[in-house]
């Protein structure tokens, strides 16, 4: 299989009040179609910056980003983003929030009835059909994040980008959403890039873990292949020595090779 997402020599320099700040440098990454990539590293290592580059929300200072051999220029619905703080519009219902995205992507070629069905299917995928008419202010944090995921998936994106989607949730909710995400990705075969702080999450979900060095001028330190068979079960993995070995490797990278001094 050829490289689906291709990042070559990407560099990102921000103009700040204190002068130029190099966030990322020498980023080379190739992602195959259907692959699940986790980006992990300490805070401020530019994981989110890299994700924003792929999303097209920011343009790289140098370097090339190709999706399916086409240069990424600006954001687009084929690269759906799940934001860290869900970013639902508070004046729309859960249904309305998803429908806004569905309408934009498929509105030109599908009937109202089809758009409606798509929206309902997306809600059903994250088990939130019962909350369709609720506003984001009326549901829990975990439910909001699920609506955010449903909104992204409803767009049938080629690439699903997730910026610490479960970071703000409690451990139990996070676990159940991770399981749901695994099931959904299995079903939809979406190519996924996920930024995370959580070592267990990275090992559990991904095919490869991209470990980043500390900023400024952060880059990719190591890439770890997670060759655990799918479907994965968190309880079985808890006893699996391979799982602990992989986990250990990520921890070694983060806390031995690239320990970050507390600021």
């Amino acid at each position: 299989m050829h490289d689906y997402l291709h990042i070559e020599n990407a560099r990102m320099v921000f103009d700040t009040k204190q002068g130029k700040f190099t966030a990322l440098t020498d980023i080379h990454l190739n992602v195959k179609q259907g692959e699940f990539i986790a980006l992990i590293g300490h805070s401020g290592c530019g994981k989110s910056t890299l994700l924003n580059l792929v999303a097209g929300l920011t343009d790289p200072t140098d370097g090339v980003l190709l999706l399916n051999n086409k240069e990424i220029k600006g954001p687009g619905p084929e690269r759906a983003m799940v934001f860290q703080n869900h970013s639902l519009l508070p004046w729309l219902t859960c249904y309305g929030n998803i429908h806004l995205a569905v309408e934009r992507v498929f509105g030109g070629r599908e009937s109202r009835q089809q758009l409606r069905e798509r929206t309902l299917r997306a809600l059903d995928l994250v088990h939130l059909s019962h909350a369709a008419d609720k506003r984001p202010g009326e549901i829990s944090g975990g439910m909001k994040q699920r609506v955010g995921i449903a909104r992204a998936l409803a767009m049938e994106p080629k690439v699903l980008l997730m910026d610490e989607p479960f970071g703000a949730l409690d451990a139990l909710t996070r676990a159940s959403l991770q399981d749901e995400l695994m099931r959904i990705v299995e079903e939809t075969k979406a190519t996924t890039l996920m930024v995370t702080h959580d070592v267990d999450e990275a090992v559990l979900l991904s095919d490869r873990i991209v470990m980043m060095t500390n900023g400024p001028a952060a880059t990719i330190g190591e890439i770890l292949h997670v060759d655990l068979p799918r479907p994965r079960d968190r309880l079985a993995l808890a006893e699996d020595p391979r799982y602990h070995h992989l986990r250990g490797q990520v921890l070694t990278f983060l806390y031995q090779k690239h320990m970050k001094q507390a600021a």
């Binding site: 954001p75 619905p77 970013s87 519009l89 995205a101 934009r104």
Partner: protein, 309 residues
Amino acid sequence: MSAVTINEGSLNDIMNAPSTEPLVTPAPVAKDPPKPRATPFLQTGRGRAFSEALGKFFRAALPPVIGMALFILVWQLVSTSSGENGLPGPAKTWTSAQALFADPFYDNGPNDKGIGWNILHSLYRVGAGFGLAALVGIPLGFMIGRFAFLSGMLAPIISLLRPVSPLAWLPIGLYVFKETEPASLWVIFISSIWPILLNTAAGVARVPQDYLNVARVLNLSEWKIFTSILFPSVLPHLMTGIRLSIGVAWLVIVAAEMLTGGTGLGFWVWDEWNNLNVEHILIAIFIVGIVGLLLEQALVLIAKRFNYE
């Protein structure tokens, strides 16, 4: 609300409890021990809730009532101590107000209209002047908030004109329009446009970046961004602007009408001053206050509807 419902329920309790119990268990056998007496109402759960709600109501209502009573007392004292031709007291003003409101909509020519007409005329001018201000201020506010260049262009002009006292604009209005009616609308317009303009612009500038990122990822059209993100997001700020603007307009109208004459509350105050009818001036002050309060409360209610947080 809750005080009322508990109250009704408890009243049913009082009425039903003693009467039904003997009916359900008729003809007690002599050997049976005497039925225990029903617990006194205020010791039952509902009774306690009732007395608690009652207490809450009095604690909330008492301070304003005492405040008003003190206010009227001070007014009475000032009135009494100012002698025969001094400030009219509360009772005298009340009698005068009753006479005034007995026939609010008479019309004896241009300078002698009922109080209802005067209130309506003032409200009409506030509505029209504010309407114009909203018509210009809201779109302009959106543009200033969205385009930094326009904001930079207009910021010095706005900062220069905004602190100008509303009545300073009246001569300009009179000179340009040659008539009093458009001149007073002009004064309302120019003094009430600033809050709505600035609040709208601030609201647009403060639309969370997250929402705009959603718009960018979805590639929404500029119109769709406006209708589904910008406008709903700015609406609370817009409502604040409208509230402040109408508040300013209502403040200015009395002064403007005093100078332009004809009809309206302001004119009426000035007219009654010339007649030395001080009771009516006091009544006018109350009317201005009450109408302003009602406008404010109505807008607060509307604003609550649009708050999603």
